[in-house]
Amino acid sequence: MAQPHTTTQRLGDRSLAARLDAINEFDREPVSEDRLQGPGDFIGLYAGEHVAGTEFVIGPLFVAHGVAAADLLMGLLVGNLLAVLSWAFLCAPIAVRTRLNQYWHLRKIAGPTLLFVYNIVNALMFCFLAGSMISVAATAVGIPFDMPMPGLDDLYPNSVAWVVTVLLVGGVVTLLAILGFERIAHFSKVASPWLLLVFVACAFAALPMLGVTSLGDFWAAANERIWTGVPIEGRVRFTFWHVLFFAWFANMAMHIGMADLTILRYARKWQYGFASAFGMYLGHYVAWVASGILVAVAIQEAGDVAPGPIAYLGAGVAGLLAVLIAGWTTANPTIYRAGLAMQTITPNWKRWKVTLAVGGVTTIAALFPALIMRLLDFVALYGLILMPMGAVIFADFWILPKLGLRSNYAEWKKLVVSWPAAAAWLVTLGACWLLNATLGWQIFFLGLPGWFIATGIFVGLSLMQQRSAGQTRVAESPTPTVP
């Protein structure tokens, strides 16, 4: 099979694709047997990655959306289970068979130019995601200075102090990202067990403020004072289905969207995809429930509902430290990833300059509290935008060979753009927009029909493309390694 770099040069599209390839150069080969990792590594990785600064925001937003206690607990139980199954049955089996990261895998299917566009969109999403984490950290830094906190309805900066604090936090985070990504990544791993316990401790210490002093009191307080079923004004009321689909698709870009091919390609067995359960049930269950309890206390005491103040209610200064560390350590790798993708459009810039520019964009985004106060919508949008390419990868790997079509057709034909993949991406997003605009389907529910639309379009158009080119031979397996 031709090396992608060579293909790129032949295509005469060197400027974009060659830049992108150069950045990912070190990662182009399938992972070798000696570099495979055991289940413990994946448990630690997933548990750490999903106990992040944004957990301090998502739990409170469920409360703001007036979800009922039973709906929340059951919705999270089932939604997180579906997320785990998506990692285990959709993403991991492809990851362990190809052993390629998402970049090189998608390149073979979509072609280098389409991949370039996808990468830039991905980078912009990363900037906004990192921005929300900087906002979260800023709410902790601002407390000692009596900074007015953004409220649940704030979309724009609400004070000069907020602007100054975000600029300072964004500046420091960017500077640290420039100085040493690896050390912060390690620090993040060290912090994650402690962070999880801070969430648990905050919840237990705050429960007496809601009148809960024994486990027997919890259910009544949960229904009457925390997840009451009554949304705050201007928010849509969340049902069991909202919670289920949000929990399932909060990381849609990672499992159904296949971004975690990059991680799971190191797994010895596809079953390691189930390790994601540790991230889902610790971060997206325990931490969301805990931060929901904290915001209920804040609302009862007419206090601020931003992450910093609610963590302070539960754990004092240690809570502030947790918000700051959680925001910072998760913003850092996100800025790094965005920088990698952005480097393709600024090939002559040194790494630090790209990181600085990305940090600047991220910090400006962080100025707007809308990013955290509308985080549920943003997270859903982020996943939805990137999901169709995951459906394309799935269909290319499993469905095309069964139809007698060739997988990795763009690479084989040396195409710079796979138009079935491009159409699957754009038409799916257009169709989802139509479902939203005409039928009023909320964004949380668009991922599932979107996946089927993307898969159908890609398979149908691939059939047309390959049949019209006379390519009806049985496809070769793209998978050299089957564990």
Partner: protein
């Protein structure tokens, strides 16, 4: 030495979570819990990187 760091790390985690359970049970004031959590954080971050780092280095050299 590594055993000592690990013991101190675990003590740090215990100081992070156990006081909150005592607050919940009504046998510890909230303020004491907040102070103990801070001490626990200091203990964890001062000691955990030492043995976590060395485990990592050990794996590399293996």
């Amino acid at each position: 030495m590594k055993v000592l760091w690990k013991v101190l790390s675990i003590a740090g985690l215990a100081l992070t979570v156990v006081p909150s359970l005592l607050v919940f049970a009504g046998s510890l004031p909230w303020r004491t819990h907040a102070t103990l959590m801070l001490i626990g954080a200091a203990a964890w971050f001062a000691t955990a990187p030492l043995w976590m780092q060395s485990s990592r280095a050990k794996r590399k050299s293996a």
